[in-house]
Amino acid sequence: MIQIESITKRYADGTVAVDDLSLEIPDSSITVLVGPSGCGKTTTLRMINRMVEPSSGRILLDGQDIHQQPVNALRRSMGYVIQNAGLFPHRTILANIATVPRMLGWDKVRARKRASELMERVGLDSSLAKRYPYQLSGGQQQRVGVARALAADPPVLLMDEPFSAVDPIVRKVLQGELLRIQEELGKTIVFVTHDIDEAIRLGDTIAVLRTGGKLAQFAAPDDLLSHPADAFVEDFLGAGRGVRRLSFFTSAGLELTTAPIVAADATDAQVAERAAADAPYLLVTDTDGKPLGWAEPKSLTGGASSVPAAELISYGRPFESGRDSLRDALDCAVLSPTGWAVAVDDTGRVVGVASQLTIGDAIRRAHAEKGAEASDRASAAAAGLKVAP
């Protein structure tokens, strides 16, 4: 655990970058520091590895004041990833990744072997090992940056806007990779970004800082979206926070119906029976159960195959029931021309469909449950009890 105890950073010219900030950063999770420019998020991060020394206050790492520890040993025990990766241009990719192990005195063979393992872990092809940084794309360079930070297997990873210089598509891929790596490794990650969407996607806990280096709110993303502490946080979260919060609600509880589904080999009679289920559209699937498209019941009078697949109404993008969130389900329903979302299993077979109305019910139910949980916690806290979250 990293405990930040009322640290302040005041520069000689009187500027206050960080103002009496206290945070407890839990182990094995991603804590995101987010805020507008000038909020002191990078300064705070850089105080954790002593690239910046606080003017007052202290930081404890597993109970030990980091100021008492030799600075270079401290830094070697923390991975450090920066914007644009900061790779050494004169060293090969493999040598870049092997930097910290070499500093820690590993022999060359062992350090290089470790570096090769990490290239694989972060999704870099081994053919890049002997290349130089200028030969790699921005996204690849950033992967190398992450691999280099992980090389000596440090318990803590400090990441300073690591993905902000790559294009949005690559950024999304890298965020996904980070979550995958984190699932495998369980590091204590402190991640700085100015992008609230990135914070919500990656963070287990989010610290929102305001200009002048003050903490505005420290909460889990769901809490942040549902209960922003003040107008600043609400404003910073931006529009659509209600919809975005739905990403934290699972689609598992969503009631699906299989009534308006017909297979491509269904006969006229079977179609008529389904149409009686009083759905305005029928979803036609192939014989394997994969979705083909929607059709009006009256156009299927000669059996389900009477409309060619190409002329069916597009079913949009299906969501994976149970794995995707209510936000994904709602998105599917909104994007679908028929207003119905198609739920599939992990093999892409249809498990049911849901209307916007049903999804709306599920959202209200989920909110009610969350609200009950929160008030349970609040009343338990009021009664002096501890409830596991």
């Binding site: 850089r46 830094r75 914007q83 050494f88």
Partner: protein, 223 residues
């Protein structure tokens, strides 16, 4: 007879290839002066340029010194030194040659260090590299191509200018030009001039090879 005949006659005359006034000995002297001047200039200019580039301080002062140094006429300085301090060893010729070589080395080494990308330096410090390791394992290797280019300019200028040593009765390839001129022996003048030009070109080659050997392919300027 044209220039090329002069040059080829001079170079093919076997009497020019041995003895005290032979090409090997004059070349040896010429390279000796040049190398010495370059070594002294590097010893003065490299540390100053690298340190001020690393710290980012003193850039303006360096620019003034470099501009002043470039404005010095080498030949004038040589004659002045010769009359002022006399012929004490190589001193009168070393002063103008060193003054010639210092500005390019000073300016490029300063620029080389100043323009090192701060991101890898920040990353190196953040990973726990000490100041000396950051300097020698990150900053210098990255700055090396530019540092070498300054050394190369200095070397070419020094090799070309070292001919003036002959005017104060020192040796080197300049002897052929000065002596040939007084003897109205244009074959010798042309031959000496051609040798100096070739030597300057050879410097380009030497530094090209040096860059191949000591600069990482990741930061070579041809990239």
């Amino acid at each position: 007879m044209n220039l090329f005949h002069y040059i080829s006659d001079f170079l093919t005359d076997s009497s020019h290839w041995h003895g005290y006034d032979g090409i090997p000995h004059r070349l040896d002297q010429h390279l000796g002066y040049s190398f010495e001047a370059l070594a002294i200039a590097a010893a003065i200019a490299l540390p100053i340029g690298l340190v001020s580039g690393h710290t980012g301080r003193g850039g303006n002062a360096l620019a003034v010194v470099a501009t002043a140094g470039r404005a010095l006429p080498s030949y004038g300085l040589l004659v002045l030194m010769f009359f002022w301090i006399g012929r004490i060893g190589l001193l009168p010729v070393m002063i103008p040659l060193v003054a010639l070589a210092v500005p390019p080395i000073l300016v490029t080494s300063y620029e080389a260090m100043r323009t090192v990308d701060p991101a890898p330096v920040d990353a190196a410090r953040g990973m726990g590299m000490g100041p000396a390791a950051v300097l020698f394992q990150v900053e210098l290797p990255v700055a090396l191509p530019l540092i070498l280019s300054g050394m190369r300019s200095a070397a070419i200028q020094v090799v070309s200018t070292a001919a003036i040593a002959a005017t104060v009765s020192l040796g080197g390839l300049g002897r052929y030009i000065v002596d040939g001129y007084y003897q109205r022996n244009y074959e010798t003048v042309a031959g000496g001039g051609a040798l100096i030009a070739l030597l300057a070109l050879a410097m380009v080659g030497v530094f090209w090879i040096l860059e191949r050997v000591v600069v990482s392919p990741g930061v070579r300027r041809s990239n």
